[in-house]
Symmetry: C2
Subunit: 243 residues, 2 copies
């Protein structure tokens, strides 16, 4: 059975990778990925064949990885964060479905909800939702519906892909929907370039977030009704009684 | 400034820890945690002072860690998975609020939604919700409301603490609520003892899940309307066009 590994490398720093991710990449002869992520890890894994493709070339990239694995090469597809959460794992499994001798195995990684959350404090301290604002493959109406239900359910909301060059007003639109069900003082936060050069973070209210521009390398957190701002950290209590 | 680290150790295997988690624990002199989790890592970090407490002693455990850190000791509180997601980070930040010279820092880890998901395939391939079924500190009515909204929003649902000795019927109750908005053929899965001895996993329909007993060491995944069963893996597509 040929194996193809989907390896989540975490936010981008070597120290954020798991031992298993590092061992898997060391054992593979070919590493496939989006060039931005490949560049983050190349120096730690020399003497590998690297197959890099640009953005929006996901299907070609995954098919290339499958073809190499089916030829018996030991191949890893690297994704930032976790390989499943808005990563390539699902697509690889769908494309690989017709290959009888191929098994796609996931090596889990620290997704931005966790790594970005750690930078802000403890925003995901209770039930939470992860939603991508990218409408490239998801109808905007469905995204709006999910935002509204998440807001009504008073869950912490973590937003991936909150903006892009073409979608500069999506975060504002999302905040407007959420504000229909949540107070404007709700504690929010965002982290840009998590664990990479130029990391920036800020804690602010939902009303302030609505009027803030962020870029596509930013992960956004919207607290629930219990979320607090403690010593410059964003903290969602689990509910322990504190005397 | 005294520092207190909250370290997510992942599901329990050494290989699931990040490099940063390992380095942090190596640098600390005291490691505090729930005895079950401490036992999982003790052998890898010898010559440390270990402070172990039982279940439901969270406030005492966290206060003990804070007191040690305030005396200048380098202390880490270990949590399974991630230290924020149903972990101790939030409580430590709340309790530590009154200590002027204390900073609580989180080292993110691979939470069960990711590690369990990797074992099943790619269940969290699109927008998802993480909900704990434990009503020890959360009113059951709020949990029911969150389940219903998540089901209506057609998001993948990941359930933590799906059962306990006193709450043997909670998963059935949760599935019944979700079945009001989702088809009974919806692809689901669960993983017990992720990355530990006795790991078990199964992929099944929502109707079958409703009639299945799981224990408190199990993480449950309920797919969205697009989730597929491919080669014994649970796969939620992101939406890429496949020719």
């Amino acid at each position: 059975m040929n194996k193809l590994y989907v390896v989540g490398i975490g936010p981008g720093a070597y120290k954020s990778m798991t031992v298993e991710a590092i061992e898997t990449l060391k054992e593979c002869s070919v590493i496939v990925g989006y060039s931005v992520y490949v560049d983050l890890i190349k120096e730690y894994f020399p003497n590998k064949e690297y197959v890099e493709t640009g953005m929006r070339k996901e299907t070609e990239r995954c098919q290339a990885a499958i073809d190499l694995a089916c030829k018996g090469q030991k191949v890893a597809v690297v994704c930032s964060g976790d390989g499943v959460v808005y990563g390539m794992a699902g697509l690889l499994m769908e494309l690989g479905a017709k290959e009888e001798n191929l098994e796609v195995e996931v090596v889990a990684g620290v997704t931005a909800a966790l790594s970005g959350g750690a930078e802000l404090g403890a925003p995901l301290g209770h039930d939470f939702v992860v939603i991508s604002l990218s409408d490239l493959m998801t109808p905007w109406e469905l995204i709006e519906k999910r935002l509204a239900y998440a807001a009504m359910a008073d869950m912490v909301i973590c937003l991936y892909n909150p903006s892009s060059k073409k979608r500069t007003d999506y975060l504002k639109k999302a905040c407007t929907i959420i504000l229909e069900h949540r107070k404007k003082e709700t504690i929010c936060g965002f982290v840009k370039n998590i664990a990479r050069k130029g990391q920036e973070k800020r804690i602010l209210t939902l009303e302030e977030l609505k009027n803030t521009k962020v870029d596509m390398f930013t992960t956004v957190f919207i607290g629930n009704s219990q979320t607090k701002h403690i010593k410059n950290q964003m903290v969602t209590p689990r509910g322990y009684q504190i005397s």
